[in-house]
């Protein structure tokens, strides 16, 4: 058994150490940087979809994971630390001779209270131990950020099992939803509108939709840019839109037609197109390449193209293009984003700082040690502490 254990240690630990190392993190992140640069310069390589890029992301995730779990213990230890067992170490730190022990203790109490430290104190007959800590958010910030990145990556992985599609439909049309998204559901497009702000500029585009499950209405609402519609995990986005025009031609090529906006057609020796702009449909008629007629057409209005051919404008026939998607990982990703944001703010709350002090009653000495990664802050604490101690 002993032998087995030894083996496990020998073989597995180096791998774990490597996976948890900052060195690997630097190498992997540098590789991600290079891959991303190549990907933007040569989009046709589809770098982000390649197997090796995903492999790199996997190594990155494992690296983050092992890095975090191997270090999180020491963070907990710091958070739960008690004022004990550090007196020997402190004898190597700075010390001052003190005359009035009670006053010194009170000074430290006041100092830590004023600076809002969390203070742990242990008193026995020959010494008083102080453990003052502050800035826990700063202490956990990197690990919290790393964890949130893992959450995002997990969410993104789950998202690869999602489905996305687009649905194009004219107002009034009913469309079957793709089976892999919503089997047995029909989508009806009830309306499409361009919204304007008070200055007359386009504010948004909105589609009104209704969903039917096996013929029964189950949901209805609107989707607009930035404000998608959601139903049972499927999200509907206003992606694009367009217009057709319904016209009735009498005379040559008689019939009712739905023609795309701006597309030119030949009729009776002329060419024409209808364009929708600013809530109006404008028809333009050309002979060869020269414009011979232009007219705003309201519903029911006619334009006589030639002696025997007339175009009647029946109505505007808008269509909308909706993006539909089901991303089972989206909420996980959003949670990760929220955690990333919170952890980012932790970085601004100042570095973790710790002051340990021992009042050695026998020798009338105060030993103390300040730790903080921010050298400037550390120097400031030491300076302030020394100044106050001078007063005792």
């Amino acid at each position: 058994m002993k032998f087995m254990n030894l083996k496990v240690k020998e073989v597995k630990m180096p791998l774990l150490n490597l996976l948890a190392s900052v060195k690997l993190a630097v190498v992997v992140i540098l590789s991600l940087i290079i891959a991303s640069i190549v990907a933007t310069l040569y989009p046709f390589l589809n770098v982000f979809q390649t197997f090796w890029f995903r492999g790199l992301l996997l190594i990155f995730s494992l690296n983050l994971f092992f890095c975090t779990i191997t270090r999180i213990k020491s963070i907990f230890r710091k958070v739960r630390k008690k004022p004990e067992g550090f007196e020997d170490e402190l004898f190597y730190g700075e010390h001052v001779q003190i005359v009035d022990l009670t006053n010194c203790e009170k000074l430290l109490d006041d100092f830590f209270k004023e600076k809002r430290y969390r203070v742990g104190k242990q008193t026995d007959e020959d010494k008083v131990l102080f453990l003052a800590q502050k800035g826990f958010p700063g202490l956990i910030a990197p690990h919290f950020l790393h964890l949130s990145l893992i959450v995002v990556l997990i969410g993104a992985f789950i998202g690869t099992f999602g489905v996305a599609s687009t649905i194009t439909g004219f107002v009034g049309q009913k469309k079957e939803m793709p089976v892999d998204l919503m089997p047995g559901v029909t989508l009806e497009i009830n309306g499409f509108k361009t919204l304007y702000d008070e200055k007359g500029h386009i504010d948004n585009w909105v589609s009104e939709i209704t969903l039917y499950q096996d013929g029964k209405q189950v949901a209805s609402g609107s989707t607009r840019v930035n404000y998608p519609f959601k139903y049972k995990g499927v999200v509907f986005y206003q992606n694009a839109y367009g217009y057709n025009h319904l016209i009735e031609i009498t005379g040559e090529q008689e019939g009712v037609y739905s023609i795309p906006d701006g597309k030119t057609f030949q009729l009776s020796g002329f060419s024409f197109n209808i364009r929708y702009a600013k809530d109006q449909a404008v028809i333009k008629v050309f002979e060869g390449s020269s414009l011979i007629q232009g007219k705003i057409l309201g519903e029911g209005e006619n334009l006589e193209l030639s002696d025997n051919t007339t175009i009647e404008y029946l109505q505007l026939y808008p269509y909308t293009i909706l993006g539909v998607k089901k991303d089972p990982g989206a909420n996980v990703v959003m949670l990760g984003f929220l955690l990333m944001t919170i952890s980012s703010t932790f970085f601004w709350m100042g570095r973790y700082r710790e002051v340990r002090a021992v009042i050695d009653k026998r020798n009338s000495k105060l030993h103390y040690m300040v730790s903080c990664k921010n050298q400037e802050a550390k120097a400031a604490i030491l300076k302030e502490l020394k100044k106050r101690l001078m007063e005792v």
């Binding site: 900052v22 060195k23 993190a25 630097v26 992140i29 540098l30 991600l32 940087i33 991303s36 640069i37 990907a39 933007t40 310069l41 982000f48 950020l145 993104a156 996305a164 702000d197 200055k199 500029h201 386009i202 504010d203 948004n204 585009w205 840019v225 930035n226 404000y227 998608p228 999200v235 986005y237 992606n239 993006g323 998607k325 989206a330 990703v333 959003m334 984003f337 990333m340 944001t341 980012s344 703010t345 970085f347 601004w348 921010n374 050298q375 400037e376």
Partner: protein, 274 residues
């Protein structure tokens, strides 16, 4: 009102050039009074820039953050803001010679842009825009200043190494302080960049239906973020402070510039309005 923008921009530019010259002269002669004047002129340029942004806010009826020009104005504003804080806190007037050219070049470059106030396109009409762009601006301002600290570091390191008897050696702060400041500013700037990426992604989820589409602009913002992450992590390893870290901080800012300007011209994508 709109026509007043260019004159205000020109005055801001002139004031900035003046403060740059004042910093130069004050250093060559080591004159304290001139340093004060130089600092005062930067404050004046900052106020002018703020007025310009406020005026545009009033005219547009919303925070002006919808195109490259407006973002650029905020960028200059943030560079000046971070510089003023550092200059004030660390008495590092020497950095003016290096930081101000960044603001001057940026502002000068903005003159070539369409400065008319245009209606915001629907996709931009979202509350996410403000957090997204404002955090970007602050991050970029911080990175611009950390970049100049890194440049100063490399310059001083070079001058010391080559045994030059340059006045710059005296003018430039100590290598340790420059290294520490490059690090500190990056450390404060990176969380802003993180929030910028996150809010951009959340917004894209609502707007485009995808939180991440590997669009060139977002990819380059990610590249920038990763470069700064490498910068912070190599510093955790032994022997990586100083020169090599400074080079990374410089690369980080080059990535910022490429994300901000290069991508818009060279790599079109969904972000093409900025």
């Amino acid at each position: 009102m709109e026509s007043l923008q260019i004159p205000v921009m020109i005055i801001t530019l002139i004031v900035l050039i003046l403060s740059f010259l004042l910093y130069m002269v004050s250093f060559l002669n080591n004159r304290q009074s001139l340093k004060q004047t130089a600092r005062f002129t930067v404050v004046a340029a900052f106020i002018l820039n703020t007025i310009l942004l406020m005026k545009r806010t009033v005219l547009a009826g919303t925070l002006p953050l919808s195109n490259l020009f407006e973002f650029g104005l905020f960028f200059v504003w943030a560079v000046l803001l971070v510089f003023l804080v550092i200059e004030y806190k660390y008495e590092m007037a020497g950095s003016g010679i290096f930081v101000l050219p960044v603001a001057i070049i940026l502002l000068f470059w903005l003159f070539s842009h369409d400065h008319a106030i245009r209606p915001m396109m629907p996709a931009l009409r979202s509350p996410w825009l403000f957090v997204h762009v404002l955090t970007a601006v602050i991050a970029y301002g911080a990175f611009a200043v950390s970049f100049t600290m890194a440049v100063m570091y490399l310059l001083k390191d070079y001058l010391l190494g080559a045994n030059y008897k340059s006045i710059l050696i005296k003018v430039l702060p100590s290598l340790d302080l420059l290294d520490e400041l490059t690090y500190k500013i990056t450390f404060i700037g990176l969380p802003f960049h993180t929030i910028m990426l996150v809010t951009g992604a959340v917004w894209a989820e609502f707007s485009w239906g995808r939180y991440w589409s590997w669009d060139p602009k977002e990819t380059w913002a990610l590249i920038t973020w990763l470069i700064y992450a490498v910068y912070l992590h190599v510093r955790l390893m032994r022997g990586w402070k100083g020169k090599r870290a400074a080079i990374l901080a410089i690369l980080g800012f080059l990535a910022v510039i490429f994300t901000f300007i290069g991508v818009s011209y060279l790599l079109p994508g969904q972000h093409s309005y900025v």
